[in-house]
Symmetry: C2
Subunit: 233 residues, 2 copies
């Protein structure tokens, strides 16, 4: 019953998944129903791989420096709840349920591409690679669902709607909070300066002025603690 | 800035969190707004501990036997997406957004109580302990939000609405699928028999006949593979 091959996060391996659930489907289900469920389960098992994608920041732990590194699946759970709890602080009215769904799928492309830490050198081809990954993964679903989720993923990437701006703000403030609770987390190893922080996280203000005010306070505190470097005058 | 003490998942430690975000809140925010955001962030950082709660089953991996054990936060992410994708298979019409929220919070009580594997001996006081944990955790939030989420959590536990029945079905089929993709996962070590499986997972049918048909197929296959034991005649 092990039907996921060794490298199933790579495009060619999806072939190995095709037909598995159809072949094992209960006979009383109608063919159409059956095909949909088979494809849906294929997608849901393929995205299990997101639990293996490591992010740079750490989770909180008994150790004040934090525990192991966070993975992108549990990060997605966390930011989805950020949306549910913090929507009143969005600059513009948002559709919370859409934002939650957007955040649940926003990182699935990392199954193919991996996570690029915010403070690391950025790959200029990242967007292209991620778009290809979105194309591959969402195509596993029945077309109506795959198209809708890929559109939502694209909206998040473009960041040009109220929902996407707010979702992107939450995706940014969550690791700031985790760093603040794990003795600076990724900031000291990357030698991050205050100017870099503002340049890389300032767009939180586009989604929520209230949350950006909170970020500024956390950044000030981190500079005082020496976790973020003060820029040269 | 490390404000989460060593044992912050225990009730008394919430005291250490109170007031932190209020004290560090940007001065321009109004007091009422400020208090709400402070409490919301306290809750969101407290539930980070769910990432440290281990479940019995494993995640999929390159190794056919699976990888490390799954944690309850990434499990919650996974089942929330099960709800989003599989709602058409519910026996009764469901409010998908409610089901998603229900599943995002359904396991947070495990921060205090831990996860009890389905096939292990059950603690008779589990429900009481979980209710106390729900009470503690949701009380960290502003009252309106805490009350609403605790009510949703209770609805999941009671399983007496269409939304809860479907959510409980998804919470059950997800580890069955993971076991089926990791050479039986928790079934062989717990010596699970077919009758035990049906007794412990049959309620999937109350939420979705189609998904239960799929479970039966997976159970049959697992019996053939020797991962689930055939009962004595």
């Amino acid at each position: 019953m092990q039907i996921i091959p060794a490298h199933y996060s790579r495009p060619t391996d999806t072939i190995a998944l095709n037909g598995f659930y159809t072949a094992h489907m209960a006979p009383e289900t109608t063919p159409q129903h059956c095909d949909r469920l088979a494809d849906q389960l294929t997608f849901l098992m393929a995205i299990d791989a997101l639990k293996r994608v490591q992010r740079a920041n750490r989770i909180t732990a008994e150790d004040p420096a934090g525990g192991r590194r966070e993975n992108s699946a549990e990060h997605s759970w966390h930011v989805a709840l950020f949306a549910r709890i913090l929507s009143e602080h969005a600059n513009q009215p948002v559709d919370v349920d859409r934002v939650v769904t957007m955040l649940l799928v926003h990182d699935v492309v990392e199954i193919d591409v991996g996570d690029t830490p915010l403070h690391a050198t950025q790959d200029p081809d990242k967007s292209k690679k991620e778009a290809a990954a979105a194309n591959r993964l969402f195509a596993l679903l029945p077309a109506d669902q795959g198209t809708a989720l890929e559109r939502l993923w694209n909206e998040f990437e473009s960041g040009d709607t109220a929902d996407a701006l707010f979702a992107r703000a939450l995706d940014r403030i969550q690791p700031i909070l985790l760093n603040a609770h794990t003795e600076g987390g990724t900031w000291p190893p990357f030698g991050v300066t205050r100017k870099q922080m503002v340049a890389r996280t300032g767009h939180v203000a586009d989604g929520s002025a209230a949350l950006w005010a909170q970020c500024e306070t956390l950044i000030d505190e981190a500079v005082r603690k020496g976790w973020i470097q003060q820029d040269a005058p």
